[in-house]
């Protein structure tokens, strides 16, 4: 495992208006907890972006490369695809390269239909479910090309949570037990799964709220609880990477806050990639930010550099609210 190798693309050019504050946070492999908050908050004034205080108070103690996205392009050959920017034969994602690290939250921001979700879905090969989608380039998980991993195994290591809270129409307990069970069987029995299920609920910060009604239908929970149940479900299989596709967009501010806290807490256990339309949210919880526009990764860097002193004009416009 490699520690903190600089990402290969569009990295901040040190001799071209490099933000003095943002640089040390990213280039030094061993970040100290004290450095980070100062650097991230101190570099705000370059644009008109104003944000609430960041949720993460200190940088993660470590970061290890989990996934590498290498020069990935995804295009939809037919007009049957679900997501945006996929007119016949058009590339939804164009030669994007990114690292995904455990210990850090990677946020993908950008306007609708710019390939964020497509890129996210390609990380656990969900794009293959879309007819006519084709992928070029290479995505590796711990150094292994993901196309060589059997899809269900891959998706147990790289799990995903969706925009809509979508618990299955069964009890809270069964929602998680279902994920842990093999194939379509009912085994192992409830008793044997109790430990892992409660553990997953605990990690998602939901256990205290639902301990009394584990047998109640999951769809009776509130929206925020449902979404945390979905996160618990995704965590139950002990994944290495957790993909979040706008997990808070259907939720109220309070539930959003709970989930954001949860995401920041989780980043030490799993690598977290979050797609969000909400710039404030990206600023609050992310360590690294990738700005995607029309399928291209326009800018990638630490949250301080992308929001504080973006290199590209398009990024500057976007984070200052000129379009989006």
């Amino acid at each position: 495992m490699e520690f903190m190798s600089p990402p290969p693309v569009r990295w901040l050019d040190p001799d071209r208006e490099a933000p003095p504050a943002a640089a040390p946070g990213q280039h030094e492999p061993e970040r100290t907890p004290e450095q980070a908050p100062v650097t991230q908050n101190g570099s705000a004034p370059a644009t008109s972006f104003v944000s609430a205080p960041r949720r993460r108070v200190q940088a993660s103690h470590f970061a290890l490369d989990r996934m590498q996205i290498e020069d990935v392009s995804i295009s939809y050959t037919e007009n049957t695809a679900v997501r945006g920017a996929n007119v016949k034969g058009k590339a939804a994602v164009r030669s994007v390269s990114l690292p995904v690290r455990q210990g850090e939250v990677l946020a993908l921001i950008g306007p609708s239909g710019c390939g964020k979700t497509t890129l996210l879905r390609s990380l656990n090969r969900l794009t293959e479910m879309t007819r006519g989608a084709s992928l070029e380039g290479r995505i590796t998980l711990d150094g292994v090309d993901i196309t060589t991993i059997e899809p269900t195994l891959l998706r147990r290591r790289v799990t995903m949570v969706f925009q809509q809270p979508n618990p299955f129409p069964m009890s809270v307990f069964d929602n998680i037990a279902y994920v842990l069970r093999e194939m379509g069987s009912r085994r192992p029995r409830k008793r044997a799964l109790e430990g892992p299920v409660l553990d997953a609920l605990e990690r998602a910060g939901l256990l205290e709220e639902v301990r009394a009604d584990l047998d109640h239908p999951a769809l009776r929970l509130s929206g925020g609880q449902q979404q945390r149940l979905c996160i618990a479900r995704a965590l139950a299989v002990q994944p290495e990477v957790l993909l979040l596709d706008e997990p808070c967009s259907a939720l109220d501010p309070q539930s959003t806050q709970v989930i954001e806290d949860l995401i920041v807490r989780l980043r030490e256990e799993v690598a977290v990639v979050i797609v969000t339309h909400n710039l404030q949210q990206a600023y609050r919880i992310a360590d690294n930010v990738g700005f995607m526009y029309l399928g291209e990764l326009v800018e990638y860097g630490t949250v301080g550099s992308v929001f504080g002193s973006p290199r590209q004009q398009r990024t500057r416009d976007y984070v200052s609210g000129a379009f989006g």
């Binding site: 995903m160 809509q164 979508n166 299955f168 279902y178 379509g184 299989v237 259907a250």
Partner: protein
């Protein structure tokens, strides 16, 4: 301009009275309304008169003893016995038909909705099912007779020497399952299609196989639709006459074939309530109209009860819904 005026009017109207007065409508609209009322009432009147007529006639002739005595040959009401055998026959035929149609129908529906590949074959199967729904049952009956009279299928009906009788509960049940099949397929497909795509992806995205997703998430969610389709199919099977008359033999009593307990019954011939009514109607061979009325009343009650079940299940089924 006029649009605004209308809007204001409706707002005011909503405040003053809950329903818009039809007296303010144009003449053509009022005429349409009158026709709707007329046709609606006519329809209700026809349905009600059938039910009430059959009830009055049926209750007059129906006695509990009819339900438990077997039909016998005779020339008067007192000699001809009851309709225990047709009642048993109806139950057997219905169970047999559903037992064949349900697994096949659900499998076809799952294949069409969840896989749909190979594309051409799926489309062909789709239109075949639709065509099947349109085939008159007397045609199915004749075709069934042809099939089940073939020597290869001799084990499914009575045989004497090399001649295969071709008429049995097996034969009737198999052909009747074709009558129920389109209803089960249609209803199940509808139920599956109503499940949002992100539910399937949520299951796949945590490493579950397609099979597990279908078995544990999709089919349980679509269960109300499956039950509705089965009930409707059951209603069709119970009410079918042509296939029974042709394929179940012209005997009013159960005539078992062979010695094995259950198999002999299924290989044998018999009657159902519909064929009993057919035989006993004024135009039939037995010509005992009173018995026909009583049996028709029982048949009507069974079918009405089934329809009630469909309603109840349909209403219960709406509980499962995701916030959209």
């Amino acid at each position: 301009m006029s649009g605004e005026a209308v809007t204001t009017q409706t707002v005011i109207a909503r405040h003053t009275r809950p329903v818009e007065a039809s007296s303010t409508w144009r003449r053509t609209d009022r005429l349409g309304l009158a026709i709707c009322w007329l046709l609606g009432l006519l329809f209700c009147a026809i349905a009600a008169s059938i039910v009430i007529f059959m009830m009055v006639q049926g209750i007059r002739y129906l006695s509990p003893s009819l339900l438990v005595t077997r039909p016998t040959a005779g020339f008067s009401q007192s000699q001809t016995g009851g309709f225990l055998d047709p009642l048993i026959g109806t139950v057997v035929v219905a169970l047999l038909g559903v037992a064949i149609a349900l697994p096949i129908g659900v499998t076809i529906a799952v294949w069409l909705t969840e896989y749909g590949r190979p594309f051409a074959l799926a489309r062909a199967a789709e239109s075949t099912i639709e065509m099947l729904a349109g085939i008159p049952d007397i045609v199915l009956a004749l075709f069934g007779l042809l099939i089940f009279s073939s020597p290869i299928l001799g084990f499914l009906s009575r045989t004497s020497g090399h001649v295969v009788f071709g008429r049995s509960f097996f034969a009737a049940g198999a052909m009747l399952s074709l009558v129920a099949l389109p209803l089960i397929v249609g209803s199940t497909r509808e139920g599956l299609q109503a499940i949002p795509a992100h539910i399937r992806e949520a299951s796949l995205a945590v490493g579950k196989t397609r099979f597990a997703t279908i078995r544990r998430v999709l089919l349980p969610t679509a269960r109300p639709s499956v039950i509705t389709g089965t009930m409707l199919g059951l209603g069709r099977i119970i009410g079918d006459t042509a296939i029974i008359v042709v394929l179940l033999g012209a005997t009013l009593t159960l005539n078992q074939a062979g010695g094995t307990p259950v198999i002999s019954l299924l290989k044998g011939t018999g009657s159902t309530l519909t064929s009993f009514i057919y035989e006993n109607a004024p135009t039939g061979e037995a010509n005992q109209p009173n018995k026909a009325y009583a049996a028709a009343f029982v048949l009507l009650l069974v079918v009405l009860a089934l329809n009630l079940c469909v309603d109840v299940v349909g209403r219960r089924g709406r509980v499962v819904s995701w916030s959209s």
